[in-house]
Amino acid sequence: MKRRDFIKKAALTTAGTISMPYILPTGRLFASTGSQMAGHVIFVMFAGGVRQQESMGKKYLAESQGLDIEGNIMYNMLAGDAPELKIVYGVDTTDGQPGGQPIDRILNTTLEKQGTLFKEVRYTHGGTGHFVGLSTGVSGYYGITQGLQGRPQHPTIFEYLRRHAGLKATDTWFIGNGINNSTPLLNYSAHPDYGRQYGANFFAPNVTFGQQGQDHLKGFLNFHPDEEMSRIDEMREFLNHAYLANGHEIPHLYNTDEERYNIKQFIENTFEQLDNNQIAFPPVVDNGDLSTIGYATEVLKWFKPKMMVINMFAVDSCHSNYTGYLKSLHRADHAVGHLWKFIQEEVPEMANDTVMIVMPEHGRNYESNAITDVNDWFAFDHDSDANSRRIFTQMVGPCVDANLIVGDENNPVGNAADVVPTIADIFGIKNEVFAKGLLHPEAMSLFDRI
């Protein structure tokens, strides 16, 4: 080939490569425009409504009950010494003092030291209700006209990732604390351009593997895919074809046949693990949040998901039981510490390649209500006052600055809607997500706020 021809053909090939769209397996046309910072993201919705005073402020009883006792009861996440008096948040002592023994710390180095803490983030729009807060967390949009029994109006992070980053269904998981408060509706949105074909798999494991699952699921017959299931599929294909004219189907998440079989195997295996006491529950597991985290680690180990959201909720006992709230807050910290340690030590495919983000869905009121608990301590609601709009966001993992605190009470930095663009940024699809124009107008990647 002559030199001139070679240069001409090489130039044409290069131009063609640049201009021709590349069709990814999931149907997207172009590769993402940004670079990926980590292979996995875990977003812990530290939910139920957490007061800044007891979390970031480490005030314990000082700014709630008028007692001059401060201290940090979240010592896996935050630096600072624990309270020394009126210890009620731990487990019962051997001599019967309720909550008198604090739970041992799990992490040698706090997440505050390992990562970046946005200490004062604001929940800026709408009422501070659980479902709006949760749907804002997963969609980056304040659905202030959001119905309580409807799916988020705007796409969730799962849908963005499946559609724009090419993730498959079992790459994305939402693990809920339960089935109340419309939690099962958060794995995909009602947005017409997205929806369940891009949704995340979901378990409320305390139900799936709880009494309901024990009674009606455990021991189910998992047909072999190459034998019985292939016969079923053939007959079902014929039956569905006969019904296709209507275009209706059983609502599903477009898991492939292999993924469906894999999920069924996971369910089978989890029941076996339960029978053998082999679920990786945290060292203390005495509430729903802790068991939820235990099951979530099983999902992590089995599927190695690219994106997982875990919802906790027990701190909402603060509506009527302040002591219970302190216990739940202490346990939520225990849960997060266990989760992070598990990822680093038990899931080699995810260790050092996972970013964890922790954020409450909203705060709680500054003023208490009139309800007192066994210790005569007042309870707190969340009625959209300024204090209930104060939250925090913590990030840890590769590409996240260590030992960095951003913002304070007088200089809040960050918005409750920021998590979705932050995750999109980590996966290198920030521009695609912003281009859709479906995020809250003030939402930004937290990396851009630093």
């Binding site: 979901f202 378990f203 009606h216 006969a242 019904y243 059983i250 999920i263």
Partner: protein, 163 residues
Amino acid sequence: MKIIRYSGLVFFFLLIITIACKEEQYVYEVNEVEVNPNNSGKNKEKSVSQFISILYANMYQKALSPDDLVEITELIASIGDKKIAYETVLAKMITDPDIKIPTNGEMRSNIEQFVIETYKRFYVRLPTEAEKTYLTNYIESNPDVTPILVYFSFATANEYNYY
């Protein structure tokens, strides 16, 4: 003048006769036909509790208890992919020896009738000729197909989720 008078009289009588004439009615004797809905009208999605109640009734030939209905409905809500949820709950039911399902021998003694009965049981309609022929041939030519596999296919196909 006379002609005009008589023609008026004739017209009057003709009118009376015409009005009085009654069209003969024919009665055709036909066999009674059971009318079942075809699948084109099934476009309302069953709620989870409807789906479970009907599934249980189809499998056990008796009603599901209210407590079990609540438990299974909660269980279904705890699994995101409803296809997986329905399949696993049904796959648990079929391990129960109390379900009412024909034996393989009963099915193979009259496959065509089994197919018709299965359509009536799960889809509340008769199969079309094409459906009947295909499934009859399919079962005949595949000895490893059991009534359980047929029932499982019917209960997890799309039509079963609509009414």
